[in-house]
């Protein structure tokens, strides 16, 4: 067994994914191989720094809570279904499923935008038709 064999197991070791026989074998090697022991120490150091960083609280930009409250105020009450939210939710699900549509020039556009504009355009057409029908109905008077 050489160092590359044990070196490749260090990640599994720190993740607790080795069986106890494999752990014993690795620890045996580490006890007399300073190179692998140093490698383990460096790996543990990085993991220690990352774990410590996870406890650090970062400060959001000023006005953060106010902007979220304002955005929440634009929403319907939580849990209350609205047509907008049902359509929005369906589009979001489609977006997750379908991803983005490529446009010429290498840009992409989310499927939900295309469908969203389509639905908005349909709504406008229905309104215009309604209006035209009403004016037509009014004419004889």
């Amino acid at each position: 067994m050489d160092c590359s064999y044990f070196g490749s197991r260090l990640n599994l070791y720190v993740d607790g994914e080795l069986g106890y026989l494999e752990v014993a074998e690795l620890q045996g090697h580490l006890s007399f191989c300073p190179d692998c022991a140093a490698e383990l120490a460096r790996l543990s150091e990085v993991r220690g720094a990352l774990a410590a960083w996870g406890e650090v609280e970062l400060a959001p930009p000023p006005g953060f809570a106010e902007r979220i409250a304002a955005a929440a105020a634009q929403e319907a009450r939580p849990g209350q279904a609205t047509v907008g939210r049902v359509v929005g939710g369906a589009l979001e699900a489609l977006d997750d499923a379908l991803g983005r549509i490529p446009l010429p020039g290498g840009r992409t556009v989310p499927v939900k935008n295309v469908l969203g504009y389509g639905i908005a355009a349909t709504a406008v057409i229905i309104q215009v038709e309604r209006f035209l029908r009403r004016t037509r109905e009014l004419k004889p008077l």
Binding site: L43, R47, A52, G54, A59, P61, A72, A73, P78
Partner: protein, 187 residues
């Protein structure tokens, strides 16, 4: 089950049932109180997943709006902080997968408090710069695993990647961070 590195955030007091009920009924002021209490946690998660301020703020806002919409479905079998922490993680990962990330001038994050003790010769600026420069494919699973202590299976679920791929990405992310930190220390 809360992730293993969750200790700090778990000490935040959960909102009272009355506060939750008011926010769930659409009382924006009550909701804002909740945002004020948890904004540090949610923003930190978003920043660590995304690596820059602009995207972090967008993703954190998205996380809170999802929280607002889902409040009526929140059940107290999970601590509120744990529940919101999960929402913040998934909103940030979804954001990363969906949006084109904006290049941003290099800017260290604003730490709420003293410079943390991260290890011999490792500063917060060094660590965040090293994380930010990792490819997304490495950074996101490495952040979830080693900053937040999530089990690999859960990382695979959240990122919609095969378990084996996630493990390889984390191993590479660690190796790349190790080399970068070592190089910076020696320079």
């Amino acid at each position: 089950m809360p992730p293993s590195n969750f200790n700090k955030w778990a000490t935040l007091p959960d909102p009272t049932p009355a506060e939750l009920a008011r926010a769930a009924a659409g009382d924006v002021e009550a909701f804002k109180t909740i945002v004020e209490r948890y904004k540090g946690m949610v923003y930190s998660v978003a920043y660590n997943v995304l690596g820059n301020h602009t995207d972090a703020e967008d993703a954190a806002q998205e996380a809170f709006l999802r929280c607002y919409r889902k409040l009526p479905q929140y059940r107290s079998e999970a601590a509120f902080s744990t529940w919101l922490f999960r929402l913040a993680l998934t909103a940030s990962v979804d954001y990363q997968r969906r949006e084109r990330r904006r290049p941003e001038p290099v800017e260290a994050p604003d730490i709420a408090g003293d410079e943390p003790e991260l290890g011999d010769g490792i500063s917060a600026a060094m660590l965040t710069a090293a994380l930010r420069d990792l490819p997304d494919d490495y950074r996101v699973p490495t952040v979830l695993r080693d900053i937040y202590g999530l089990p690999y299976q859960e990382i695979a679920d959240i990122t919609a990647r095969p378990l084996g791929t996630v493990k390889v990405m984390v191993h590479r992310g660690r190796a790349s961070l190790r080399l970068r930190l070592q190089a910076e220390r020696e320079s």
